[in-house]
């Protein structure tokens, strides 16, 4: 494990989130901000469904030959003058990055938005060693000031409102006039831009993630809306690309295919404002670019997913559509999930990265409504994979004892129709009798989980099968 997880406390986290009025208000923006825009963008593109198939196929093909594409990519990066470092786990990745930073004599490091950086906890590691990391994506910058994790993979500060951001800016930007007006979001943006501009110029190393790594050319591709990624990778002397191994795609043509579904699925844009390709360090004749170019490729349990049912999860292109459309995410937000990746994709990925014993709640906390799968640009069967986790838990006896015995009882009767008829007949008659006056129960023994939040409608009193057989005997007689 890399970053501290509160996933085992999912239920507590969720309860806290449900009682947080400010958070609940902010979560309303997720619904309005993303769903309608995606819907409009996809409707304008008749071939969108075909492009989803194509994106899925490209990723599947790459994963089937991942070893070959990784080798090809590595060769191309080296040929273009860059360095490739393979990191088996988070600790190795942190050490590699730290040693590159030390070699560069770095005091400050700017960072473009990267979920892998969150996964390995690079900021804390650099700070421990006297290097100051500066997040340059606005949302990431805000949560860095607050010492929080992102609550969404593409909108890290979506759980906050403008007033909270204003308070943080006033708390941290003490060199600015205390009486300045920050009542408009654009004023917050301008202030952040001003503060970050100086940081960009002072940085010795820039770390970015990658949306794609192209085997054909050794190119890393980032997709951003703020332009901060470009400044992060162009201005400092050293650029480190930090990415996990499943970011590989074979060709530039493949990138252009997948880009067509990425932004539409994520923000409803046809294409993000900046799509930046970088290949190696600055070459002779280039007007800008870093002197040193490093790629740190993180495995962290991913290669072990290859060849298993969880391989499909490695298709994920981190658009966030699954969480944007998830009723559970809408209810509790991203922090409740307790680790780096929230929502349906997190519910599948997190157990592979920190262990199902830690993250056991996540794949269970889903209604299996299937909306995530229906919008996934690479068609990952997220509910099916969550169910696979539940199967693993069941096999390992990690399923809570109460659930297990309840299911065992249900399974026992479901396999024995005669006993089922007898037992349900009696139980339903009793419940029907008890509920005959009100037609519903506000409380029932053993049903507290249900009746805490809603009534339980009373059964009609006789089972369908009993009535059917009774009436048919009469009909036949």
């Amino acid at each position: 494990m890399s970053v501290h997880s509160t996933s085992p406390d999912f239920k507590k986290n969720a309860a806290r989130a449900l009682g947080d009025a400010q958070l609940q208000k902010a979560l309303g923006n997720v619904k309005q901000g993303f769903i309608d825009k995606r819907e409009k963008a996809t409707q304008k593109l008749p071939e969108f469904e075909a492009l989803r198939d194509s994106a899925r196929d490209i990723k599947n093909h790459t994963l089937q030959h991942l070893d070959l594409y990784l080798e090809a990519y590595e060769q191309k990066v080296r040929a273009s003058g860059g360095h490739v470092h393979f990191a088996r786990h988070a600790e190795e990745a942190r050490d590699i990055i730290l040693s590159i930073c030390k070699e560069a004599g770095a005091r400050t490091v700017t960072k473009g938005k990267s979920m892998i950086a969150e996964e390995i906890g690079i900021n804390e590691h650099l700070e421990t060693h006297g290097i100051t990391p500066v997040e340059t994506d606005l949302g990431e910058y805000i949560i860095q000031l607050r010492h929080e994790m992102p609550s969404h993979i593409i909108a890290p500060a979506v759980h906050l409102n403008a007033t909270q951001v204003e308070q943080d800016f006033r708390r941290v930007h003490t060199h600015l006039d205390a009486k300045r007006d920050l009542s408009e979001p654009v004023q917050l943006l301008t202030e952040a831009r001003g503060v970050l501009r100086e940081r960009f110029l002072a940085a010795d190393v820039g770390i970015t993630g990658a949306n794609f790594l192209v085997a054909e050319t050794g190119t890393s591709v980032i997709v951003t809306n703020e332009g901060n990624g470009d400044l992060t990778q162009i201005l400092p002397k050293t650029h480190i690309v930090l990415a996990s191994i499943e970011k590989l795609v074979p060709t530039l043509e493949d990138v252009s295919q997948i880009l067509r579904v990425l932004a539409r699925s994520a923000t409803g844009q046809e294409i993000s404002v900046y799509t930046t390709f970088s290949t190696g360090p600055r070459h002779l004749g280039d007007s800008d670019g870093p002197e040193n170019y490093h790629v740190v490729l993180l495995d962290n349990g991913r290669s072990a997913m290859l060849g298993t049912s969880f391989e499909e999860m490695l298709r994920c292109i981190r658009c966030g559509a699954c969480m944007n459309h998830c009723p559970v995410y809408h209810a509790v937000g991203g922090h409740a999930y307790g680790w780096v990746y929230p929502g349906p994709m997190g519910a599948v990925l997190t157990p592979t990265l920190i262990g199902i014993d830690q993250a056991g709640h996540l794949p269970n906390a889903s209604t299996f409504c299937g909306r995530c799968e229906s919008v996934c640009p690479v068609k990952i069967p997220l509910p099916k994979l969550m169910r696979h986790w539940r199967e693993r838990e069941f096999e390992r006896h990690l399923t809570p004892a109460t659930v297990r015995s309840g299911l065992g009882l249900w399974g026992f009767f479901a396999k024995r129709p005669a006993l089922y008829r007898l037992a349900t007949g009696i139980a339903i008659r009793a419940m029907g009798f008890a509920g005959r006056r009100k037609g519903r129960f506000q409380w029932l023994p053993l049903a507290g989980g249900w009746t805490r939040n809603r009534d339980l409608p009373a059964p009609q009193g006789e089972t369908f099968q009993a009535r059917w057989r009774r009436e048919h005997k009469r009909r036949a007689a």
Binding site: P327, C369, E391, R440, Q460, R467
Partner: protein, 267 residues
């Protein structure tokens, strides 16, 4: 429905355990709809489709339950369930369950191919375009998730509802968003489920129709339970009850007595 009398389709009704136990009238409404459409309906011995164990990770128990269902429902022309969720379990998940079992897979596939959700069977297979029913008033319709996303049930119930004399369908916002039921989820993650159904109830009430319909009793129990807890006078019924014109039984969560005295609207 023009169906050759000699060759009436023989239907095995998969009534679903929730309907069997909680609201048999939905089963009888399904029988009436199928018989009116020219089918013979039989009810073989049955328990549950296996979803609770399947979605809780217990594959072995689910397989024994599924084997029993497959065996009991042999020989029918079609198997019809008044539920998108249970029909999808048989249609979409039984084949997955037996994917590595050459013995059972063909049987699972064969059952899957002739299993349908009620409204989609009526419209897509039998070509029914109208039902003989009247209902005085406005209704709103919730699309249950499995039926909607696994079986493509969306237009079929609406098409049939449009033929009910006197009925107006008022669409609610986000009719295609989950109600928060999710089977055992509703109990295991009660608070989250409660928050999701709260959002759903708001949309139902905002639609302004006095009656809420859906095609899955699990979701209906959840929504009816929330609406009654909040004191909302919305009546809740399974869509089959309206389509079959069988509204003599009180709505979900309303006592017979209350219905007789008209108390249910004022609760």
């Amino acid at each position: 429905m023009k169906q050759d009398r000699a060759r009436k389709p023989r239907i095995g009704l998969f009534v679903t355990c929730v309907v069997d136990l909680m609201r048999p009238s939905v089963g009888f409404a399904a029988v009436k709809l199928l018989e009116n459409a020219g089918c013979t309906v039989e009810v073989p011995e049955q328990t549950c489709c296996g979803q609770p164990t399947y979605n809780s990770g217990d594959r072995a128990t689910t397989r024994s339950i599924a084997e029993r269902t497959i065996t009991e429902f042999r020989g029918y022309d079609y198997v019809v369930a008044p539920s998108g969720s249970c029909a999808a379990m048989i249609k979409a998940h039984y084949p997955e369950l037996f994917a590595d079992d050459p013995n059972w897979l063909p049987r699972a596939n064969e059952l899957a191919a002739r299993t349908f959700e009620l409204t989609s069977f009526l419209v897509d297979v039998l070509g029914v375009t109208r039902v003989d029913a009247t209902f005085d008033g406005a209704v709103t319709y919730h699309d249950s998730c499995s039926g909607l996303r696994e079986l493509g049930v969306r237009s079929q119930p609406r098409k049939l509802l449009a033929s009910v004399e006197g009925l107006t369908l008022v669409e609610m916002e986000e009719s295609d968003v989950c109600c928060g039921f999710g089977g055992t989820f509703a109990v295991k993650y009660s608070e989250i489920s409660g928050a999701i159904v709260e959002a759903k109830a708001k949309h139902v009430v905002a639609a302004g129709a006095p009656t809420l319909l859906a095609g899955d009793l699990g979701c209906l129990l959840n929504m009816a339970g929330k609406l009654s807890r909040d004191g909302e006078p919305v009546r809740v019924r399974h869509v089959a009850e309206i389509l079959a014109g069988m509204t003599d039984d009180p709505p979900i969560g309303v006592a017979k007595e209350a219905q007789r005295t008209g108390k249910e609207a004022a609760r």
